[in-house]
């Protein structure tokens, strides 16, 4: 977490603090007096302590440089996210190195709410370095998280020996309906912020910076948070269900399941494997399904989020509980049952998803779904869970995995250094 001096923050910066979506417990409605108050609330409220607080503070900022992981993984989840992948268009490791160095410097600036260079150049005939649409906007909690695709760790770039131990393409899994144009990539950027224009500006300027070295491949605009971090209220996916109730939240679980700690290359330590899936929903069919069936599909009550075995949202589901007729209260093929760590050898993954829409499809149907992003220290963990879901999840009738990618997300660079520097040492 950064600790900029108050005068660095500047009094011109917009500082808004207000309560977010009504959470079941403890809604913080801030009316912080003056910039200093908002500033203090912003930095510290990023990790609220009570369950269910949802604070939106556009002056909040996160540090890019540091001694641990990149921001945008453990970071309290922002409301908007733009995700983009790139194909390398240069065959040279040197070009990749320069791009990662330039991206690092630019991301550090962007996360402070600053421009990456002149918007209006001094000279006649000059082009702007920064495209300008985030001028006067607050940092809005922006994080930009950079991932590296499997193809980079090959002999083509002379980096095969530096491959993170478990880096590889994902296996084909049951129910995969991948479209090549929505899958893969050699680099990924996940830009999340509480102001969508701040997130988009970051992606746009970083994509521009990449030209000549890497070309855009596919992108998803996430308009709504669909997973909860520690202390955040549980948001809902587009099926209307709370998503992320049982998400991985505790530091001990991050250490056990998210961060890479192995005998692999030194530069890869403290990183994580990012899996991303574009999951299309058959919205209209879902909306026409009776809610009792929807509940059975998920294994939870729609409104309260409680497991069908009883209790409230955070009650641990009882997968052995049976009803009067002797059948399980939570169907073994419900989404919750198949995904639960209790039924997957204890495996947990960190989910950090967003709802997306691409408007209407060619048939006039709503084209929308979930931008699923997960972090884990072994890609097999995702595969284990998704293999079960893909083969038996009752939800499969209403969803389709149409895009996929896997990227290694290295640890944050220290000040004065750049992302994945050890890769080029």
């Amino acid at each position: 977490m950064s600790s900029p001096t108050p005068d660095e923050k500047g009094v011109s910066r917009r500082s808004l603090l207000f309560g977010g979506a009504a959470a079941a417990s403890g809604l913080v409605v801030g009316a912080a007096g003056g910039v200093g108050g908002a500033y203090a609330a912003g930095l510290h409220s990023a990790e609220p302590t009570d369950e269910g607080q949802d604070v939106l503070d556009l002056s909040a900022e996160h540090a890019f440089y540091g001694e641990a992981e990149q921001a945008g993984i453990r970071t309290s989840q922002q409301r908007y996210c733009v995700y983009m992948t790139f194909d390398m268009s240069s065959p040279l490791a040197r070009d990749l190195q320069v791009l990662l160095a330039r991206w690092s410097g630019a991301i550090a600036q962007l996360m402070k709410g600053k421009t990456i260079g002149q918007v209006e150049p001094n000279r006649v005939d000059g082009i702007g370095v920064d495209t300008g649409e985030a001028l006067d906007l607050a940092p809005a909690g922006l994080t930009v998280t950079v991932g590296l695709g499997a193809k980079l760790f090959t002999d083509q770039y002379g980096l095969a020996a530096k491959k993170p131990t478990l880096m590889r393409e994902l296996k084909a899994l049951p129910s995969d309906a991948m479209k090549p144009e929505l899958s893969g990539g050699d680099l990924s950027l996940q830009a999340c912020a509480d102001d969508p224009q701040v997130a988009y500006h970051a992606i746009r300027d970083l994509a521009r910076m990449a030209k000549g070295t890497a070309a855009t491949r596919w992108t998803v605009m996430g308009f709504g948070r669909a997973s909860a971090g520690k202390g955040q209220s549980t948001p809902r996916n587009l099926m209307g269900y709370k998503d992320g109730t049982r998400n991985l939240k505790e530091d001990v679980d991050f250490d056990k399941f998210v961060w890479v700690k192995d005998s692999g290359p030194a530069w890869s330590q403290g990183g994580s494997y990012q899996v991303v899936r574009k999951i299309q929903m058959n919205i209209e069919n879902w909306d026409a399904d009776r809610v009792s069936d929807q509940n059975a599909v998920f294994g939870r009550e729609k409104q309260a989020g409680a497991p069908l075995s009883g209790g409230h949202e955070f009650t641990t589901p009882d997968f052995h509980a049976t009803g009067a007729d002797g059948t399980p209260k939570i169907s073994p093929t419900s989404h919750v049952a198949l995904a639960a760590h209790e039924n997957n050898g204890g495996i947990k993954i960190l989910r950090r998803g967003y709802n997306y829409t691409d408007g209407l499809n060619q048939y006039g149907l709503l084209d929308a779904g979930l931008l699923f992003i997960s972090y884990q220290n072994d890609p097999a963990h995702f595969e284990t869970i998704q293999a079960k879901l893909g083969s038996s999840d009752r939800l499969n009738e209403y969803i389709s995995h149409i895009g996929s990618g896997i990227f290694f997300v290295p640890a944050a660079p220290k000040q004065g250094h750049y992302l994945a520097e050890g890769l080029f040492a």
């Binding site: 160095a101 600053k114 006649v124 082009i127 030209k211």
Partner: protein
């Protein structure tokens, strides 16, 4: 650094001028590169080694974003600036200016990358080290000794020669266009539709090679907003920018009749004849043009914009589908403009020159894959199927060229 760029202006660095006042009285001691305040350059002239004065430029973000020189003066002759970004994220480029003109520069100076060297031969006089994004963006740099006009003049002279050469190129293209449109007109008047189609494909590239230089002419007696006197409209209007009050004219009116209607009517003959007159007028008017270096750079950028906006979509040649002929012509015209700037630009920014040339080579190699010598235009038809599979590939390659190319104009600008 502030959110707004408005503070980053020339002349805003009064503090720097004061700080450098000491350096202006520097004696030519040399060799003393001992420790001193990083923000203040040593009073002595830069030491000479390997035949060049050695100046260190350090970019740091440790206390604000600073761009520090270890020496603020050097003796006339070769000067090597060794630029190292230790920790500044805000400063990614350093330029040496004489007046407002860029003499040399280095980009992509991200923190953590190895130091880079910029070596220039400087005559005596006053220079500015410009670090956009630094708290103090400008540092004075003084070169003592003979004011070798040569080092100053040579880039400008070379660039000026380039613009003259480019002017000759444009005149040649326009003369060829007049000939080719004459042939098209003859074919149309003879009523031979196959011949006319062939001549159309042969006539198209010339305008597309130089369009950004000649698309501003208005016929005498017409207002600039009146398309009936706008030569670019009359020569190159498309269905997508049809002005109903003025109607169809020029190349694409002929194209529509030949391909879509499949017939040469009296109206078609009228279109061809009028086009013939208008391109002749255009070539005459263009004889008065002269070019500044930045005109070549902006013109080249304009031609690549043409590729992205009208050709990738297949909109330009929507009846004949010879869009790739136009794309190749746009790219050739842009590359010619760049080539005439290249000798001067190489002196200013060799890295950028290499980058742009490299991207031109990639685009050209990609386009070569679409060549078909059996067709009049020399390229395969840009069919809907080809567009479906290849449009993004072409667009991405041109984008990768556009980005570095767009930086050239300000480097070569003589204004100011």
């Amino acid at each position: 650094m502030q959110l707004s760029s408005s503070t980053r202006r020339f002349g805003a660095a009064a503090g720097v001028v004061a700080a450098v006042a000491l350096a202006l009285t520097a004696c030519a001691g040399g060799g003393n590169s001992g420790a001193h305040d990083a923000a203040k350059p040593a009073a002595s002239a830069a030491p000479v080694s390997n035949g060049a004065s050695q100046v260190k430029v350090t970019l740091s973000g440790d206390s604000g974003d600073t761009c520090a020189l270890d020496h603020a003066s050097a003796k006339a002759g070769p000067v090597t600036f060794t630029i190292h970004n230790t920790s500044s994220t805000a400063i990614t480029e350093v330029e040496l200016l004489q007046g407002q003109r860029i003499i040399g520069e280095k980009e992509n100076l991200a923190p953590g990358l190895a130091p880079v060297k910029l070596t220039l031969t400087l005559g005596g006089g006053s220079y500015t080290v410009y670090c956009p994004g630094a708290d103090a963006e400008e540092q004075k740099f003084t070169v003592t000794g003979k004011a070798a006009g040569q080092a100053d003049g040579s880039v400008q002279t070379v660039l000026a020669e380039g613009t003259k050469g480019y002017g000759t190129y444009v005149a040649g293209v326009l003369a060829d266009m007049v000939t080719a449109v004459g042939n098209l007109n003859s074919a149309v008047q003879s009523g031979n539709i196959d011949e006319a189609k062939k001549e159309y494909a042969l006539a198209r590239p010339f305008y597309e090679k130089v369009e950004s230089d000649v698309d501003g002419f208005v016929l005498p007696g017409h207002d600039a907003t009146d398309n009936s006197g706008n030569l670019d409209y009359l020569v190159d209007m498309r269905q997508s920018n049809l002005d109903p009050a003025v109607g169809w004219h020029g190349f694409h009116a002929v194209e529509r009749d030949l391909w879509q209607n499949g017939a040469i009517t009296d109206q078609t003959k009228q279109y061809a004849s009028e086009l013939n007159t208008n391109v002749t007028t255009l070539a005459d008017l263009a004889k008065g043009l002269s070019y500044k270096p930045e005109d070549l750079a902006n013109g080249a950028a304009g031609l690549l914009e043409e590729v992205q906006t009208n050709k990738i979509s297949g909109e330009e040649e929507s009846y004949s589908h010879i869009d790739l002929v136009d794309v190749a012509a746009n790219v050739e015209g842009a590359e010619q403009a760049f080539a005439y700037l290249q000798p001067g630009l190489t002196k200013i920014d060799p890295d950028l020159t290499t980058t742009v040339q490299g991207q031109f080579d990639k685009v050209t190699a990609l386009l070569d894959g679409y060549r078909d010598p059996s067709l009049a235009g020399g390229y395969v038809d840009y069919t809907p199927q080809l567009k479906q599979t290849d449009a993004s590939k072409i667009s991405l390659a041109v984008q990768a060229l556009q980005e570095p190319l767009s930086k050239i104009a300000e480097k070569v600008a003589t204004a100011g």
